[in-house]
């Protein structure tokens, strides 16, 4: 099984590596034995054993914090394990850096792309394997090799386009080409479909199948059960740093896998009574939002949010949902359209977030660390963020510390935030607890309309259930909710009515009963469906 790549300095090394006959002809592509890793008090990997057969697609699934990212970072050389060994094709290897990993034939495509935005595709691919001190010759050689690769795996990408101008799906291809160009035999993909539509994801899986046919091995790291079922041959489940099971995918089911992930039976559906929507509380008409380059990110969007209803906005990230949320929350000014709340036009009156909160509009942002909290501040400070001007927290000129502390304690108890210490720095809380505190803050303000972006991003399964229940309870109390999520499962579980956004427009509006993954997936990809608003 010779490497398909042509001569390039790095590949010369991996060529010699590959050309030697392995100790066992059918040795697994990658084998991890007893990998152990601690970060201070956190036991991230506990004696992990993993075997990836050659020419297969192997899934690695687990919740956030289960240890799968740490494990892959060890395989790729970002961390050194405290104990254990790594074997590639039966031969033990020491991996102390990404360079070692690359030399061992391991390539990694990260969730957040590692691309230099203003370089061309070619420059990004050759970075690190330029083939000599002067660029010209090396670039020319790389071009020829990449043409061959593109042919073999169906990975055509325009080499001279600047990366920032490429759509996300093509950027991912660049990442994969990068790994293959360096002679990767084992490809690790970390949450690859986070930025793809279901159809694009299928195309990715088809390409992985082609890789497998050529004898490459793929490790698919994900938390999405659907992908595991669709694309993998075998799957390893991790929980709290240890491997809790390894099965052949065909022999298992989503329920079984979820159960292994969590350690107990998991309710995959949100239990809720049917909705009884009332009067419209938020009315959006012909909203248009442009970014700082003048490009319209939200185009002619109109919808209404009614009391006692959860409206879900589905769509692949980057299709205008973030801009829509920001415009509704008052963080970004729309270029056209109206937003009516409580009889007032928020756009025309230029009301900012503070005024909107006063009118009963609350907002849980998509990225809490970036926007929703100040990680360096205490929990109690974060618990009043956005509401710090209110009379209940202030006595005259000074802030009322006792009231603030007591308020935080109350919120923490109501939303089961652990540890219940108002003075603790927020950055020390887990993702799920941070999110619960943010929710507590926004819901405690008793809004009539709640905007929620990615409610359970980076949150463990136990907290997910809790948050979903809270949102449904809010709906039952007669509030209007807008939930934006890239997780189709979440939308299908929570929403009473679903809007699908693509390229800034609402391309479909469905009642939950009429929505299936397939129809939603088509809309998310831009195929206009029924009920186009």
């Amino acid at each position: 099984m010779d490497s398909v790549v042509g001569p390039c300095p790095l590949c010369v090394h991996s060529r010699s590596f590959v050309a030697e006959p392995p100790d066992h002809p059918s040795a697994p592509a990658l084998e991890l034995r007893g990998i152990d890793k601690r970060f201070g008090a956190v036991h991230a990997n506990r004696a992990v054993a993993l075997t990836v057969a050659a020419g297969s697609i192997h899934g690695l699934i687990g919740e956030n914090g289960a240890g799968k990212s740490t494990l892959m970072n060890i395989v790729y050389g970002f961390h050194r394990p405290d104990a254990g060994e790594i074997r590639v094709r039966g031969r033990r290897v020491e991996i102390h850096s990404p360079q070692d990993a690359i030399r061992a034939g391991i390539g990694m495509v990260h969730q957040h792309f590692m691309l230099v935005e203003n370089f061309t595709v070619l420059e990004n691919i050759v970075l690190g394997v330029e083939g000599g001190r002067r660029l010209r010759a090396g670039l020319a050689r790389a071009r020829t090799e990449l043409a061959a690769l593109a042919r073999d795996y169906g990975l055509e990408v325009p080499l001279d386009t600047v990366v920032s101008e490429l759509p996300v799906g093509l950027q991912q291809r660049v990442e994969i080409l990068k790994a293959l160009h360096r002679g990767a035999e084992i490809l690790i993909l970390d949450e690859p479909t986070a930025v793809l539509t279901p159809q694009e994801a299928d195309a990715l899986f088809a390409m992985l199948g082609r890789l497998r046919a050529q004898g490459k091995s793929v490790i698919l790291v994900t938390h999405k059960l659907r992908e595991i079922m669709a694309a993998t041959d075998r799957v390893t489940v991790m929980r709290q740093g240890a491997v809790v099971g390894e099965v052949a995918t065909r022999a298992s089911s989503p329920r079984e896998l979820a159960g292994m992930m969590v350690g107990r039976a998991v309710l995959l559906e949100v239990d809720k009574a049917p909705a009884a929507p009332g009067a419209p509380l938020l009315d959006v008409r012909r909203l248009e939002v442009r970014d700082r380059f003048g490009v319209a990110r939200v185009k002619d969007v109109s919808f209404a949010l009614r009391a006692g209803e959860i409206v879900g906005v589905a769509g692949v990230a980057g299709n205008g949902q973030s801009e829509l949320l920001e415009a509704l929350a008052g963080i970004r000014a729309p270029s056209a359209g109206e937003i009516r709340l409580g009889g007032r036009d928020l756009v025309r009156e230029r009301l900012g977030p503070r005024e909107r909160r006063a009118l009963g509009l609350a907002h849980v942002p998509e990225d809490r660390l970036r926007m929703g909290v100040v990680a360096a501040f205490s929990a109690e400070a974060n618990a009043i963020l956005g509401y710090h001007d209110r009379a209940c927290y202030n006595r005259g000129v000074l802030m009322d510390r006792a009231a603030i502390a007591e308020d935080c304690g109350r919120k923490m108890a109501a939303f089961d935030v652990r540890p219940p210490d108002p003075r603790l720095r927020l950055g020390s809380f887990s993702g799920g607890n941070q999110q619960k505190l943010v929710l507590a803050r926004e819901i405690d303000a008793d809004p009539s309309v709640l905007l929620v972006g990615q409610p359970t991003r980076g949150v463990d399964i136990g907290a997910i259930e809790f948050i979903h229940r809270k949102l449904v309870a809010l709906r039952d109390a007669g509030k209007a909710l807008l939930v934006v999520s890239v997780e189709l499962d979440e939308i299908l579980g929570l929403a009473d009515r679903i809007l699908v956004m693509h390229a800034g427009e609402i391309v479909g509006e469905l009642a939950r009963a009429d929505a299936t993954e397939k129809t939603l997936g088509l809309m998310m990809a831009g195929v206009k469906g029924e009920g186009h608003a």
Binding site: F39, S69, T70, N73, Y76, G77, F78, H79, S97, P98, Q99, A101, I102, M108, H110, H112, M114, L115, V116, E117, N118, F119, E123, N124, V126, L127, G128, V129, E130, G132, R133, R134, L135, R136, G138, K178
Partner: protein
């Protein structure tokens, strides 16, 4: 003096004034493109100026002085790299600290070693300074009308370092855009994580960039004390390091536009020297302090108007910490 001559002489002065600015700006180009804010240009230049003048005075050789100047600036650059790259310290603070230390250390050592109140001895022997190099027939060309004068003043007669600085502009462009080092350097200033995952050491690249910056600042400082002047005087850089940074920003971190910016700043300076005490139509005599302040005001205007939202290397100023 007729206008033509005036212009030529002013341009010649411009070239002389622009040289240390250009060298410092190119130094900043390398470090900033790698993602490190380089406010230490001032201190590195000043340190080099002191070392060059001191060594030249003691040994009688300007070349040894140049070596000392470069060594000093490189040492300071290494100190900054140690603090900011290896230990992820605040780049602004570290640079300001080094600037203070050098500002104080120069006169302190100068006083202790030479007892001249902080200065170094005058460089009056031949060979102690980088004097102008006269090109063939320059003296004769001077007699001729304008082009001859231009040859004599603009092209001929500059110190070696001036010619070196000019050559460094295309050299920098070549390194930055046509070599492996340049590609990696630009990458690490935009997305250090990408460089890291490609198996290249981010810290290593930034160290290299800082050291290159040190070398160039060393030449700049040496020029100040051994070519433009004949010795070290306290605070002789007088903010040139910050002006160079402004020129770099104005030049959008690219070699040739940076050259343009340096020439522009230097021209203002040279023009100001010419206009000192001269009554202009409309404004009258411009006070000397206004002339002195002009480059700084101009920089602020540039930063406010033209450069306001210029695109710096994306990762600049942020110490690189690997994500878990």
């Amino acid at each position: 003096m007729e206008t033509g001559t005036l212009i030529v002489l002013t341009l010649a002065a411009t070239i002389r004034v622009a040289t240390p600015l250009l060298l410092a700006a190119l130094a900043g180009l390398f470090s900033e493109r790698s993602g490190v804010i380089d406010l230490g240009l001032e201190g590195k230049m000043l340190g080099a100026a002191f070392a060059a003048a001191a060594v030249s005075a003691v040994t009688g050789s300007a070349w040894l002085g140049l070596g000392a100047g470069i060594a000093t600036a490189v040492a300071l650059a290494a100190l900054l790299a140690f603090a900011c790259v290896t230990h992820r310290g605040n780049q602004v603070v570290a640079a300001m600290a080094v600037n203070f230390i050098v500002a104080g250390l120069g006169p302190t050592l100068g006083l202790a070693w030479f007892s001249l109140g902080g200065q170094t001895p005058q460089l009056d022997q031949p060979g102690q300074r980088f004097l102008g190099i006269v090109w063939p027939w320059a003296e004769r060309a001077r007699e001729l009308p304008l082009p001859g004068l231009a040859y004599a003043e603009l092209i001929s007669g500059h110190s070696l370092i001036v010619y070196l600085a000019a050559a460094l502009v295309p050299a920098s462009a070549w390194v930055l855009y046509r070599t492996r080092f340049g590609l990696r350097l630009r990458a690490v200033g935009e997305n250090p994580a990408a460089v890291d995952t490609a198996g290249i050491s981010v810290d290593g690249l930034r160290w290299q960039a800082m050291l290159v910056s040190g070398v160039l600042c060393g030449v700049a400082g040496t020029f100040l004390s051994t070519a433009a002047s004949s010795g070290f005087v306290r605070d002789m850089t007088a903010g040139k390091g910050y002006l160079a940074l402004a020129a770099l920003i104005f030049g959008k971190w690219k070699p040739w536009p940076t050259l343009g910016a340096c020439l522009l700043f230097a021209f203002t300076d040279a023009l100001a020297a010419r206009l000192q005490g001269v009554a202009l139509p409309l404004v009258g005599v411009v006070p000397v302090q206004a002339i002195l302040a002009l480059p700084y005001v101009l920089t602020v205007l540039l930063l406010a108007g033209f450069v306001g939202r210029a695109v710096a290397p994306r990762a600049i100023g942020v110490p690189y910490a690997k994500e878990k």
